[in-house]
């Protein structure tokens, strides 16, 4: 089997932390591709959209002519794992904001919903993934998912509120699993890709 090619949207944010988290999964063979232009996107089997500033990423997708192509590929079931700003970029609705978004994930989000940086926190997150269970959630200027459509499945909660969801090939979290010392969600994401490709 050829390497799984995982793209990291490398415009801005903690994409390197995601790359390191992928390495920590110990799953080989993975090739990591930093995606900065259209041609990078053509050869990836899955895409990670990191934390950072969603306004910057949205703007750069448009400026570098990648917006429509990415939207189309996600609609054609490109597997995507997004965290924090990545989730905002995917969301259909962003409360009180006109910023560019891909709109492919049927959720409504409120940005900086817990407050400013001094309100950022660490807290346990309960996942519905049996082999993972409860993990540490790192919430940094995090958004909240305030509503979601019928096709959206909640796969993790914090104080009963949804913090990680799945819709089709998209998985998106409001927190930062890439900043944990181990990488259970990255491992789970990669394993789910492998089980798909192996049929």
């Amino acid at each position: 089997m050829s390497d799984l090619r995982i793209g990291l949207l490398a415009f801005q944010g903690d994409y390197e932390a995601h790359g390191k988290a992928l390495a920590r999964t110990g799953i080989a063979p993975i090739t990591i591709v930093e995606v900065r232009r259209l041609s990078d996107l053509e050869h990836v089997d899955a895409l990670i959209i990191p934390g950072g500033e969603s306004t910057v990423m949205g703007m750069l997708l448009e400026r570098f002519g990648m917006f429509e192509a990415l939207k189309t590929r996600i609609k054609e079931d490109l597997p995507v794992f997004a965290t924090c700003a990545g989730l905002i970029l995917l969301a259909k609705n962003i409360e009180g904001s006109e910023q560019t978004r891909l709109g492919v994930l049927d959720v409504t989000v409120l940005r900086n919903a817990y407050g400013r940086q001094i309100d950022s926190f660490h807290s346990p997150v309960r996942t519905s993934i049996p082999q993972i269970g409860i993990i540490d959630g790192v919430f940094i200027r995090a958004p909240k998912i305030t509503a979601f459509g019928e096709g959206v499945e909640v796969i993790a909660t914090h104080r009963d509120a949804p913090v990680m969801v799945r819709q089709g090939s998209i998985v998106a979290a409001t927190f930062h699993p890439e900043l944990l010392p181990d990488a259970p969600l990255h491992r789970w994401f990669i394993q789910s890709l492998l089980s798909k490709t192996q049929g």
Partner: protein
């Protein structure tokens, strides 16, 4: 082995502070003096703004004591943009820092650009919930600031000049310092820590990991997209731009071009395209024209 590292023994609060610094990587943090400029910066793709009363070039030109901004301006900027808002306090002025924390700024820059409030001691940054960024000229200074609790380091450069030479010098000094530590044997690290004036545990960590335990950004003198890309190629993880944007002929275009340059810092073709027709850069002052007494990078202990 990993358990022995200084960074692995830090609190969850420290990790959350460094976490925000991680989110700001690969971006441009722009100095702004009012809400209108903050809006321009955000629209151009800034990943954060630095709220201050006067940009460094004006502080330099006008002289006098430079202090923390008026809280009213900071609040107006916070109400205008959705990206993180940073603000500066004077070196050692822990009450300005307390005020900035009470305002809910996302990052405090304990900055040599303002007039120092203390000529011996910096703020003890572990005491704060808000993360701090501090300037450095070499590895020893970087590690002293990290030891005090800084969650991000920026090389100082010489702010308000539009001359990149000091930024380059400081970034190379930090890199050389790290490379040297990584080449040393364990028994050499304590004396080296003494020589660097840096905490032993941090010297040990850098020697073992080959990198700083917090992100390292670049500041001071960036005026063009090429300057920004130069600092990224030299190892900066993000770039602060002070006077270089709003002291230039066309701030909107220049700001957007510098953002694009940081993303595409390894691609000269794209850099050529985005460097085109940006209007006049800030006039600037060559480092050689600057008397020793007018240099601010030396502030910091």
């Amino acid at each position: 082995m990993e358990q022995n590292l200084w960074s692995s023994r830090q609190s969850e609060q420290w990790r959350i502070k460094v976490g925000l610094a991680e989110m700001l990587k690969g971006g441009v943090i722009m100095d702004v003096t009012n809400a209108a400029q903050a809006k321009i910066a955000e629209k151009a793709g800034a990943c954060a703004v630095m709220a201050l009363e006067r940009v460094p070039a004006d502080i330099r030109a006008q002289g006098g004591v430079a202090r923390m901004s008026d809280p009213k301006i900071i609040k107006e900027i916070q109400d205008t943009v959705s990206i993180p808002v940073m603000a500066k306090c004077r070196i050692g002025h822990f009450v300005e820092a307390q005020i900035l924390e009470a305002l809910g700024v996302d990052f405090i820059d304990e900055s040599e650009v303002l007039t120092p409030a203390d000529d011996r001691f910096h703020v003890f940054k572990h005491d704060f919930k808000v993360p701090f960024v501090c300037g450095c000229r070499d590895l020893g200074e970087a590690l002293r600031r990290i030891g005090e609790g800084a969650a991000m380091i920026r090389t100082k450069g010489e702010a308000g000049t539009g001359d990149i030479i000091e930024a380059v010098r400081h970034m190379r000094a930090v890199r050389d310092g790290i490379a040297r530590l990584a080449s040393l044997r364990d028994e050499e690290l304590m004396t080296t820590a003494k020589e660097l004036g840096a905490p032993f545990e941090l010297v040990w960590e850098v020697a073992k990991t080959g990198k700083l335990p917090v992100p390292n950004f670049s500041a001071g003198g960036v005026a063009t997209p090429a300057d920004a890309a130069l600092m990224m190629q030299l190892g900066a993880e993000s770039v602060f731009v002070g006077s270089g944007i709003f002291k230039s002929g066309n701030p909107e275009r220049r700001a957007a071009a510098i953002v694009a340059a940081v993303v595409n810092y390894k691609d000269p073709k794209i850099l050529a395209e985005i460097s085109e027709d940006l209007g006049a850069p800030m006039v600037g002052i060559g480092l050689d024209e600057l008397a020793e007494s007018q240099r601010i990078a030396g502030r910091g202990w």
